[in-house]
């Protein structure tokens, strides 16, 4: 039962992965590992994603023009790919935030609703 719930949550999460990645990059450019850390921290450890899933999402968003990336040299001397939101990415994030806000309010309203007087739950 628990695995079914986790699977369902995984599917829900997959549907919002692009928005999550865009939101993680809203604060500024970051490399893949940092994006995962931001998601983990900002979600209160709830979204501890398999780390390999982030890179296909980053590549997909870059191709869609929502992210731009370039190679940089880290302090450690390692070469790393750093991703940043483009203007289209910022616009897309604003739009998705507004959409999510409406959606969560609607769901919140439904879940908070008590059965009307005389109705059975």
């Amino acid at each position: 039962m628990e695995s079914e719930i986790l699977k369902m949550e995984g599917e829900i999460l997959k549907g919002h992965l692009d928005m999550i990645v865009l939101a993680a990059l809203a604060a500024g450019p970051a490399h893949g590992y940092a994006v995962i850390e931001i998601i983990r921290q900002k979600s209160g450890q709830a979204f501890d994603l398999p780390e390999g899933t982030i890179y296909p999402a980053l590549h997909r968003l870059e191709q869609a023009g929502l992210l731009a990336s370039k190679w940089m040299v880290a302090e450690s001397g390692r070469k790393r790919r750093v991703y940043a939101l483009t203007r289209s990415g910022q616009r897309a994030l604003t739009k998705r935030r507004a959409g999510w806000q409406q959606f969560s309010e609607a769901i919140g309203g439904l879940l908070a609703a008590r059965p009307a007087h005389g109705e059975t739950a």
């Binding site: 986790l6 692009d18 590992y33 780390e51 899933t53 890179y55 590549h59 390692r78 790919r81």
Partner: protein, 240 residues
């Protein structure tokens, strides 16, 4: 241990060498960072954990394959439209040049020329219809995020088929035009003015060759990536 993992990832991405190089470098940095941040003193254990957190390299490659092939198929779709429009304009220009130069078709070969003309028109109409359909189909859904690997491959198969048939129809049209131009120019003594029909036909043929190369490259990459179909999709289940 990390080298083995990176080798598996590079091998799974063999359908796109430049993507494989880039992803390898990204994962190399990722794993190094993950090992460095791990509290565990045992570096081997830290590497094992970092690799386990990344997931199956074939599943990662399968998701990247969808993005990579989708980008190439969009390029091909745009290429088909550009070629069709260019060939149409060049053909119109050549016909106008024939009229200017008063290069008609000899009466003795009129019936054959009419048949060839009909074939060329129908072949071009078919190429245009299928090319536009393939462009619409290939550009449909800009983001491939909604696709799973097997579903995307069905989409790609149909797109390649449409593009291939459109290109074949265009090749028939151009070859028929070559035959018509030969009939028309055969009785005329060669001059500099021949450059226009010869040059435009050469341009059209090179456009078709370019499309064939693009389709072949896309199909080759798709075939190389097709073994990733068996990979289990990456699970996104969050921590319980």
């Amino acid at each position: 241990m990390t080298a083995e993992y990176l080798d598996s990832l590079t091998e799974a991405l063999s359908f796109d060498a430049s993507l494989a190089r880039r992803v390898r470098s990204e994962f190399e940095d990722h794993l190094e960072e993950a090992i460095a941040c791990d509290q565990c003193q045992d570096r081997v254990e830290a590497a094992r954990r970092a690799i386990a957190k990344c997931g199956d390299p074939r599943a990662i490659a399968a998701e990247l394959a969808v993005t990579s092939l989708a980008q190439r198929s969009r390029r091909l779709a745009v290429g088909i439209v550009v070629v069709l429009v260019s060939v149409l304009l060049v053909m119109k220009g050549r016909v106008a040049w024939y009229a200017t130069m008063q290069w008609g078709i000899p009466d003795s070969v009129q019936p054959a020329a009419m048949t060839l003309g009909t074939v060329a028109r129908y072949a071009f109409a078919t190429a245009m219809f299928l090319g536009m359909t393939s462009w619409l189909y290939g550009s449909w859904r800009r983001s491939p995020s909604a696709y799973s690997h097997p579903v995307y491959f069905k989409h790609l198969h149909r797109f390649c088929l449409l593009s291939g048939v459109a290109t074949a129809a265009l090749a028939v049209c151009i070859l028929t035009d070559v035959a018509l131009a030969t009939i028309r120019l055969e009785p005329i003594s060669p001059s500099v003015a021949f450059f226009v029909p010869v040059g435009t036909i050469a341009f059209e043929l090179s456009c078709v060759i370019a499309l064939v190369v693009l389709i072949r490259s896309l199909v080759r990459r798709a075939v190389l990536a097709s073994h990733l179909r068996q990979a289990q999709p990456l699970s996104l289940a969050p921590n319980p």
